[in-house]
């Protein structure tokens, strides 16, 4: 972070060509590349806080948002990121698309690809969908969430939020709590945060913990108080409501009692610990409003702000790679 005012020229100078043609998984980047992307994103945070937010780094580029799952936050974040960099942005959602008429994912993608977009942002309910698309299209594919696999830009924005709050990621302890099993956010965060030198703990009931998670370079906890004891960051995950009521946990109230984050449980974290949530939140299920809305502990609004900046950085880096061609 720099104290001097950062201008577009500084950011332009920091922009670099992304190391991979697509961004599907945190595994596509290594530690120095992740740090470089976060540095670039910090520049965009500053630019986004100014009145004139529009730039021309992506001028002439076309970006398509292909969302087969509903999303307000991620889709508008990508849309805004693209527009602020001067790209032409097209949004496609599943209900408008011919997927509803039985067209396969690949046929849809190949059709859109023929319109020669430069960047394709994809969200799909199946793990591996973004990777499959990347094999079949000629443009850069960005994974905006594929099933229960990964959501790499979310991990980047989480890392950036942590860095803003603590000045670093390395050496911190982060507890990721809740439905880890079904969470792509958790998988990407485990990869990125451990890569950046944080210690990661996974906290949740055994029914929501993936098989073999203890071999992911993290520690696994089933008692939330012990799991978040002394941690710097408590990252809560969303619990799909249909997974409660007896399927994987007995009830909402039982879940909140043992795994919901409230003041009392938060007290066992380190002094000054921060709370995060990828949204949308189930208030009173996994997180108490009292905690979520406290600006002294909650980074939840910062996460949204960082999201736009991180995506601008990623788009700028991918476009720089395209420019090199």
């Amino acid at each position: 972070m720099t104290n001097q005012a950062v201008g577009i020229d500084d950011v332009r100078a920091r922009t670099y060509a992304f190391p991979a043609p697509h961004f599907i998984s945190i595994n596509d980047i290594n530690r120095p590349q992740a740090l470089r992307l976060l540095d670039l994103a910090e520049g965009f945070v500053d630019l986004n806080r100014k009145t004139a937010k529009k730039h021309d780094l992506l001028k002439g580029r076309t970006m398509m948002n292909l969302f087969f799952e509903n999303s307000t936050r991620t889709q508008s974040s990508f849309e805004l990121a693209g527009k602020r960099l001067g790209a032409d942005v097209v949004n496609m959602s599943a209900r408008q698309s011919s997927m509803a008429k039985g067209e396969t994912l690949i046929d849809t993608a190949v059709t859109l690809n023929a319109m020669r977009p430069d960047l394709l942002v994809v969200r799909h309910a199946s793990s591996g969908a973004a990777s499959l698309l990347a094999q079949k299209v000629g443009c850069s594919v960005i994974n905006a969430g594929d099933g229960q696999h990964e959501h790499p830009t979310q991990a980047l924005l989480d890392a950036l939020s942590i860095r803003y709050a603590f000045g670093k990621v390395e050496g911190l302890t982060v507890a990721i709590c809740g439905d880890v099993m079904h969470s792509r956010v958790a998988r990407s965060n485990v990869l990125l945060l451990t890569m950046l030198g944080a210690q990661v703990r996974l906290v949740g009931p055994p029914t929501l913990m993936p098989t073999g998670a203890d071999r992911w370079g993290v520690s696994v906890h089933h008692d939330m108080r012990k799991g978040i004891a002394g941690v710097d960051v408590v990252m809560m995950l969303r619990l799909q409501l249909e997974r409660m009521q007896g399927a994987l946990v007995p009830s909402t109230r039982e879940y909140f009692r043992f795994f919901g984050l409230d003041r009392e449980k938060l007290a066992s974290a380190a002094p000054g610990a921060k709370v995060m949530h990828p949204g949308p939140m189930n208030r009173g299920v996994e997180i108490d409003s009292d905690v979520a809305d406290d600006p002294l502990v909650s980074l939840i609004q910062n996460q949204v702000e960082m999201g736009v900046a991180v995506r601008m950085a990623l788009l700028a880096a991918l476009a720089a790679r395209l420019d090199e061609r």
Binding site: Q148, H149, E150, R187, P210, A213, W216
Partner: protein, 433 residues
Amino acid sequence: MVATQTTAFINARLVEPESRYDGPGALVVREGVIADVVKRPDFGNLSDQIRVIDCNGAMLAPGLIDIRVKTGEPGAETKETLKSACRAAAAGGVTSIVIQPDTDPAADDPATIDFILRRARDIGLVHVYAAGAATKGLEGQRMAEIGLMLEAGAQYITDVDRPIVDSKVLRRVLSYAKGFGALVAHRPADPYLSDGAAATESEFAARMGLPSAPVVAERIMLERDLALAEITGARLLVDQITCADALERLDRARAKGLNVAATASINHLSFNELDIGDYRTFYKLTPPLRAESDRQALIDALSAGLVEIVVSAHAPAPAEDKRLPFDEATPGAVGLETLLAGLLALHHEGRVSLVDLIRAATYAPANLLGLKAGRLTPGAPADLVLCDVDAPYVLDADSLLSKSKNSPFDGRRMQGQVLLTMAGGKVVHQARD
């Protein structure tokens, strides 16, 4: 299918699975049957009326018998027809196939069995047999016309990939089939644990975010099946056993004297869960690929004779069913043309003797179903494969004769080129050049 000209194969490496002979030999085929076999390179003086094929040391073995083959006929001819499957079989050195009853409509009555057998007879390439459904519509509820299907020619009874959940139904199927001396094949998989799974539950599958089922789902169902086989005294075929845990149960049941046999698919002998790699749907199978330790246990069980039969589990799926996200893709792999080379890989790795591998896909299944094929003895049908077991090649799935190209061996280095396939004394495939 009877060829008139008498043919002699000389200078062969004869692999005779019944007597477990692997050595020099020569063989004469007359009027569609094996007329004479000797364990020396040639016969000496042969009449010049006889066509002589010099094998140059290539392996001469019985044509393979693959008892688990799906086609799309009737009902899904875009996947595979009986004709394309027969061509693929001939190219792969497979001379007998048993068609699975999960067609559309299901082969759960004598008319459909008869339809399949008559269609195949008109093709006249390899021997085609059919298996009949255990329950109507393969729905696991009401018993199918087992007796009438057997009378129509069904070789055994199975609901294929769909386990019969209701223990009472399976018990009745086993009991009833026993009255006809029929074999019942059943896939051991607890449906409650494995419903919706696309992979075996493991650290790898969890990392990939794939819906998965624990490997114990197989053991749980197998234990029930073995218990039902025990109380009914029926002949049970464990369809595609895959894991160490289940093999241990099978071993115990066999030691107890239960009349139970098991098949392994060439896929589970060749690949493990990590082959899924970056969501490659050609490796999406039913049952899903297991851990490497399970694959090794399966090879050991084959070598030890605990698992006696290897199948291709040929399951054609066209591109539109495979070019999908992993959890939406259709499971299954084509295998008729790669079964032999897949088996030979285990020979080249020194894991299982050549004669035991050949036996697992010839004599063992023939013996199980009471077929006369699968051996090189005078009087047996002249179903033969001549194969250069060392010839290397890289498999190109597009070159397969199956209508569907979903081969997990695509791009793999293989060894074992089929030079000639003979079924009923007729040459049904011959390598070009």
